[in-house]
Amino acid sequence: MTEKRSHLQTETARQSLKASMDNIHKHKRRKLLKGTVAVPVVMTLYSGAALARTSNITGEADSIENAVFKDTINGPQLLCVFPDPMQTQIPGGPYDLGQFPQATLIQEPKIDLTASAETVLTSKMQQLEECHARGGIMISAVAYTSIMSKTGININPTW
């Protein structure tokens, strides 16, 4: 990394942090669920060895940054979850994923982490489009831990 770029990043960092800090004090209490007061939601937490299952109601992640990507040998792949086709959906979520939600990893286009941030973001958005085209949604990590073993794709414990 060149010194100039490093300096620039630090500047950005400062501004970003300042913005974040202001944000924190203004919006300290945001919510886990956004725009879903119109339905009752219950999610059950599974942790430890049993790691996650249950909860069938979830919303699409609010941004691509919060979506779950699995690291594979072919680079990160978006976890694309399919809501239960038998359920009627409320536009904008939350979605009922039904009793046995299905999920898949989106493989194309490949995400090259050594490419520029913009390229990576573009590839991620393309994976998301592909997921939407197949009728799926991206979900946040919280929702993920809560449906995990029903999808048959598990996070490897990191040890």
């Binding site: 919510k31 942790s47 996650a52 699995k70 990160p76 941030a117 990576v120 831990t145």
Partner: protein
């Protein structure tokens, strides 16, 4: 007495005969092995640990060599916990990785007198920051950098919390870097001591970083938590830190724990207390300099 205060021959004898007992955070681990390449690696990487031959050890582990079932000319190694083998055998080059992995497993499945969060933990200005595990967080890499740049290492893996006193206990262990992060850290921190890279493990190539001596020396100094940060490494993105809601932080923290459910109401109340006493953030980053900047500002602000 610390490992590097005894000669290699004595260290070798301890591991080979009665078992070497070392204090790793609040636990004593008794290690037996006669496998020379592992002994050499441990002499280097465990050099700052205190030897506790006369104390009770909570964990008794062994690395033994055996003939491979499929190839009788090849030797494998096996990890034993109290004489029991929790996993299959591995190629002998992986001995260190298997030993470290085995000790983590033993801690994760046996310890219930503390809340065990799955989190990297470092201390600054008398308070700890938790970096809970999170897919793609790169917590070990980040933790390695922080612990050699002015933060005190508690752990890259375990947030050990005494739920009654709401205190975190340091447990500085070797930090296993994976794949690309090995070269990244070599470049960023050229002076640190790292074990030989071990290729073809279940997690790809792994190399173990020796924890800073000072962190081990101070491993009896417990602290309260002040910040909980869910990190995520995304290539080439500018650093961004963002507050998250308490309910979200609660759910993410509790689901990133080894024994949250085993502790029942105690775990629930401990996590609630923790969320109430901490500021909770999401952090997106790509380079260490700017993360460091952000964290210094955060920890000095209040």
């Amino acid at each position: 007495m610390v490992v590097n205060q005894i000669p290699f021959e004595e260290f070798h004898m301890l591991l080979h005969r009665q078992g070497l007992r070392v204090a790793i955070g609040p636990f004593n681990v008794c290690i037996h092995t006669s496998y020379k390449p592992l002994i050499e690696q441990l002499y280097l990487l465990y050099s700052h640990y205190r030897i506790t031959q006369d104390e009770i050890a909570e964990f008794h582990v062994r690395i033994v060599t055996e003939r491979s079932l499929r190839n009788p000319f090849k030797r494998n190694i096996r990890f034993l916990l109290d004489g029991q083998s929790p996993f299959e055998s591995f190629p002998q080059e992986q001995a260190l990785a298997v030993l470290e992995w085995g000790i983590n497993l033993a801690i994760a499945v046996r310890v219930n007198h503390l809340l065990l969060l799955h989190s990297a933990v470092v201390e600054k200005n008398g308070h700890v920051i938790l970096f809970p595990a999170w897919p793609g967080s790169g917590k070990t890499t980040l933790c390695t950098v922080l612990s050699y740049q002015g933060f005190r290492l508690f752990s890259d893996e375990f947030g050990l919390m005494d739920t009654q006193q709401q205190l975190f206990l340091p447990i500085p262990r070797l930090m296993p870097l994976k794949n690309e992060s090995i070269a990244v850290i070599r470049n960023y921190l050229p002076d640190i001591v790292m074990g030989r890279p071990i290729p073809n493990t279940q997690k790809g190539t792994v190399a173990h970083v020796r924890p800073p001596e000072k962190s081990i020396l101070l491993s009896k100094h417990t602290c309260k938590a002040r910040w909980i940060i869910f990190p995520k490494w995304i290539a080439d993105t500018p650093v961004k830190i963002e507050a998250i809601s308490d309910s979200e932080a609660f759910m993410m923290l509790a689901s990133n724990a080894f024994n949250y459910e085993a502790l029942g109401a105690t775990g629930f109340c401990a996590v609630a207390d923790l969320i109430r006493s901490c500021d909770c953030f999401k952090l997106v980053y790509s380079d260490f300099d700017s993360v460091m900047e952000v964290l210094h500002q955060l920890t000095n602000e209040t």
